[in-house]
């Protein structure tokens, strides 16, 4: 069949250089810190910590990616995370302990705690969604620049944090919520998760093959496809056993991976995702293609809001308290992660995967320098310079290509 030769060519030549460069940079940074810290940096324990450290920023970077791709920005995510975090703490420490025993007098304290956590999670995600929709509506339909709306939103939410906490730290937090942020999967649970992931990889590989055959596209040999699937499976197993040799796979890391996969899927395989990239690439052409550009922008902010909710909940569970300083400057780290991962502030270009790797690089720098006992002032300076350097290299490499 002549007509599908375009597709074959693509499959043969498609190599994502960007992703490889990022990985390469990550490996270099890890090896560098590994040697500078006499191997401590590369220990399983530190590696486990590193991954947990990155989760909270990762949620924000994942949500920020579509926002930046449409050519907008969200400066309020740090404050929103902080705000939702103190709301979660307030609900758990002040509202529910008084409310729930009255509603369910027959239940044990442990069960009440779980109900408290479930309801808290739902409310927090809902608040995130509402704030996201509110800001998104003003940006998309009100025509106020995103920079201004979310800068204003940052102030409002910071005020909200102080209002809720009255300047104090709110404790205690239910154990069940802490588990979400600090817990580990048991050894067996970890292996089961790994096996499920591996099964999914193989099934989708095979499904893909049938689909390709159905449309008459030449497929690689079965052996080759299975080999690739096997390589990924081995990586997952290695990771699982590595984590299990310390305390197990961390629950927040699992949540992060799940969300990253879901959002990646949305970006690549749904109309909404396509529209996001199109809006960022050429807003006018997209509008003239009959796409409701405003609604697309609104939805990216709604998604961002929900992810701020997730981030806020995990933050509360992690610190086991609601604090006034929670979330401060997270927006900058999230934007830094996105940009480091190749998202263009001009819009139209970027991936969730890149944003996660970018965040991992930023967190690795932070973690590595802490392990080395480098002074905090140096840490800031190095992080800032590396961010600028990364984007500079990216910009120049793109220029050379065109």
């Amino acid at each position: 069949m002549k007509d599908l030769n375009y597709i074959q060519k693509f499959k043969e030549f498609k190599i994502d250089f960007r992703a490889y460069t990022l990985f390469f940079a990550l490996v270099i940074i890890w090896l560098l810190f590994g040697s500078l810290t006499g191997g401590i940096f590369l220990s399983t324990r530190n590696f486990s910590n590193l991954l947990r450290q990155m989760t909270i920023i990762s949620f924000l970077a994942i949500g920020m990616t579509p926002v930046i791709i449409t050519g907008n920005i969200d400066l309020s995510v740090g404050a929103m995370t902080g705000f939702i975090s103190v709301i979660a703490a307030y609900l758990q420490a002040i509202i529910f302990p008084n409310l729930l025993p009255g509603l369910f007098p027959s239940l044990s304290i442990a069960s009440l705690g779980i109900i408290s956590t479930v309801v808290t999670v739902i409310i927090c995600l809902f608040i995130g969604l509402l704030i996201g929709l509110g800001q998104g509506y003003i940006i998309a339909y009100g025509g106020v620049p995103a920079f201004i709306v979310t800068l204003g939103g940052q102030f409002v939410l910071k005020g909200g944090i102080l209002g809720v906490t009255q300047g104090k730290t709110i404790i205690p937090i239910e154990d069940s919520l802490r588990v979400m942020a600090q817990g580990y999967l048991s050894e067996y649970a970890g292996i089961i998760v790994a096996i499920i992931a591996i099964i999914i990889i193989f099934i989708s590989t095979l499904q893909n093959r049938t689909k390709k055959k159905e449309y008459g596209i030449k497929v690689r040999s079965l052996g080759m496809d299975l080999f690739v699937a096997a390589v990924f499976s081995v990586l997952i197993l290695v990771f699982t056993f590595m984590m299990n040799s310390y305390r197990g796979i961390q629950i927040p890391v699992l949540i992060m991976a799940t969300i990253a996969i879901i959002v990646t899927y949305i970006m690549n395989n749904t109309r909404f995702g396509r529209h996001i990239y199109a809006v960022g690439g050429n807003r006018e052409a997209t509008r003239l293609s009959g796409i409701n550009v405003r609604k697309v922008v609104l939805k990216t902010y709604a998604m961002m809001g929900i992810l701020c909710g997730v981030s806020g909940i995990i933050l509360t569970g992690y610190v086991a308290a609601g604090t006034t300083s929670g979330g401060t400057n997270y927006e900058l780290s999230a934007i830094g992660g996105c940009v480091m991962g190749g998202t263009s502030l001009m819009g139209g270009i970027g991936t969730v995967f890149g944003a996660v790797i970018g965040t991992l690089i930023m967190t690795s720098l932070e973690n590595g320098m802490s392990v080395m006992n480098m002074s905090v002032f140096w840490q800031y300076i190095v992080k800032g310079l590396i961010l600028i350097l990364a984007v500079y290299l990216d910009v120049t490499s793109r220029k050379n290509k065109v």
Binding site: F10, N269, A278, I349
Partner: protein, 512 residues
Amino acid sequence: MKDDFILKINNVTKDFPGVRALSDVSFNVKEGTIHGICGENGAGKSTLVKILAGVYPFNTYQGSIYFNKKELKLTSSSIEEAIKEGIATVYQELVLVPYLTAGENIFLGREPRNQRGIINWNKLFSDTKEILTKYKLNVPLFSKLSTLSVGQQQMVEIAKALSHEVKLLILDEPTSALTEAETSSLMEILKNLKKSGVTCIYISHRLDEFFQITDSITVLRDGQVVDTVKTVDTTEEKIIAMMVGREMKKRFPDKKSKPGEKILEVRNLSVFLKNKSVIKNVSFDLKKGEILGIAGLMGSGRTELVTALFGEYGNQVTGDILLDGKHIKINSAEDAIQYGISLVPEDRKEKGLVLIQEIYKNISLPNLRQFSSRFNIDKYKELQECQKYADYLAVKTPSLFTITESLSGGNQQKVVIAKWLMSNPKILILDDPTRGIDVGTKYEIYNLINKLAEKGVGIIMISSELEEVLGISDRIMIMHEGQCAGTIERKEATQEKIMALATNIKKNNRYD
């Protein structure tokens, strides 16, 4: 020297990739005269202006230009150098800072200063006043440009050009954005300039203006000089004949089918933008399988008319639109597409394509619903469909995954058309679809339009080229200043008739 030519253009040829914009152009301009240059869109007028203004520097063209008795060799692509030589250009689009006053704009970047570098405002304003009075330009001294009318802004632009020691002033379609009153005052200004010894090159689409002010006229066609004549020795009809009068070769495929029943009716459509009436009471019909050509000069409202049909102006549109006999209201592009109306826009780069994306994503953008559920796009189906249309249009590309930006103009246009064909329109509107496209691809596009018409699609096609409108349309509607100046059946249409309606030749007396 015995000749008194200030500018001599000798055998200038300028090539762009794939196109020869100017071919062996030669003519002379007498000192102290107003010299008109006319020609259809794409005849090479703008290219010539850009060479004289130094946008295309010496060595990027062949031939020689003598200005003021010595050869003009502009090396950099900055207009500063041309100005230093004594050539200033006023472009069609204004290039002034809207939030500064006339004087600040005129002396932008070279404000009079004292020894310490502080701007001497008194001198700036008195110099400005001197220039404005000298050339009888009626512009308020202390108002910001944004508060002035377009005509007044243009005067500032002219004043800016004249504030340099210019010997040659080039005006590139200065009246395209002016009202009639503003135009006639510009005519007065130009006459005054001539009295004070400034030579002008005047470019316009409005032929009557040439006969009011110019001393001689050079007619360009397809990058070549047809003739240079004294204005007193010629007539508008003769000029039009020179502009369009080339032999019709077989450049258009034959259309076999006949129009069917009526599909679209537009009644008294008017558009108001910023309290200005852009389209005035336009009515027309479109039948199934009919190709309705819309002719008209740039700024005649032709683009606004079709974008209004595509829902771009929302509630600023009055009048009735009937599709298949039913009244419809089109408030957005989304609505239009739902009704089966598609628009291939005028500016494919700005409005037609997401240039940084792959070809297939551009083709499928408005059509994703055809192969997606709420939660999934069937990518293989998508690729297969896109492939079908890319093949149908013979898009020349290594792969559907090629970034659209890297395609040639003609192939980019094919991608835009592919995208709208996939949406299966009842009515396809094409706004100047062959602009900047080579002859071969043009023929392919004409063929395609014919094929669509044969299938029963109603087609509205705007074109800047008279030949094209004549070659392809069943019927031609001519727009002039937002109104329908007339509709001509193909059999009865001639280039002269269309040009006469489009330039509104009968209203010759409007400056009297």
